[in-house]
Symmetry: C2
Subunit: 114 residues, 2 copies
């Protein structure tokens, strides 16, 4: 009855849309590096800026994007704001992609042409 008959991942359209949304948000070099940096624990905006060597408004924007998607959460302490990864499973996603990269390097599966 459902549109996903035959789907082993059991993704209905709602889950699909949500998954695409999360993935799209993570699929950005700066945001990946931020998540990577936060993997070891929370960091202030200033520390993240320093680590990525990027302007503060840019970082703030990326942080807010990820926070809006529930990927990060934040905590204010004085006039600093600390961000951390809200859900470890996002880290897992990146691990998977990294593993994918390695597998592909190994077998040279990147074929741009036929």
């Amino acid at each position: 009855m459902s549109e996903n008959s035959g789907s082993l991942l059991q993704l209905d359209s709602e889950h699909i849309q949500r998954a695409a949304d999360i993935l799209k948000t993570v699929a950005h070099p700066a945001r990946l590096r931020i998540i990577d940096f936060l993997e070891s624990g929370e960091q202030s905006v200033a520390q993240i800026c320093k680590y990525l060597e990027a302007p503060q408004p840019f970082i703030s924007h990326q942080l807010n994007l990820m926070k809006a998607k529930g990927i990060l959460c934040s905590r204010r302490e004085g006039n600093q704001v600390f961000y951390e990864v809200a859900n470890r499973s996002v880290i897992e996603v990146i691990y998977c992609v990294r593993r994918h990269g390695h597998n592909n390097e190994a077998c040279g599966a990147v074929s741009e042409r036929e």
Copy 2:
């Protein structure tokens, strides 16, 4: 010395870029559904079109995008072309995202506002 000191995921800029690229390609409802559909094995373009109820040029475009990134691979048989997932780790990525979705549903971590 490297730019990723402190990074536990050990992603250098090359890997970061590649990971972002893969994720960006996967981060699309139609492409997610295609991967989902192909999870159980190869399918022809026509079968994928039927499953997604989408026009053939649209599906072909999505398939070619994913093939170019090494996510899918294809095989011609007569005048049909069969596509399959080139690397199981992409499936893992989707599993992770799905798990992420579930975790977030459970704890209601999606906070659009402060």
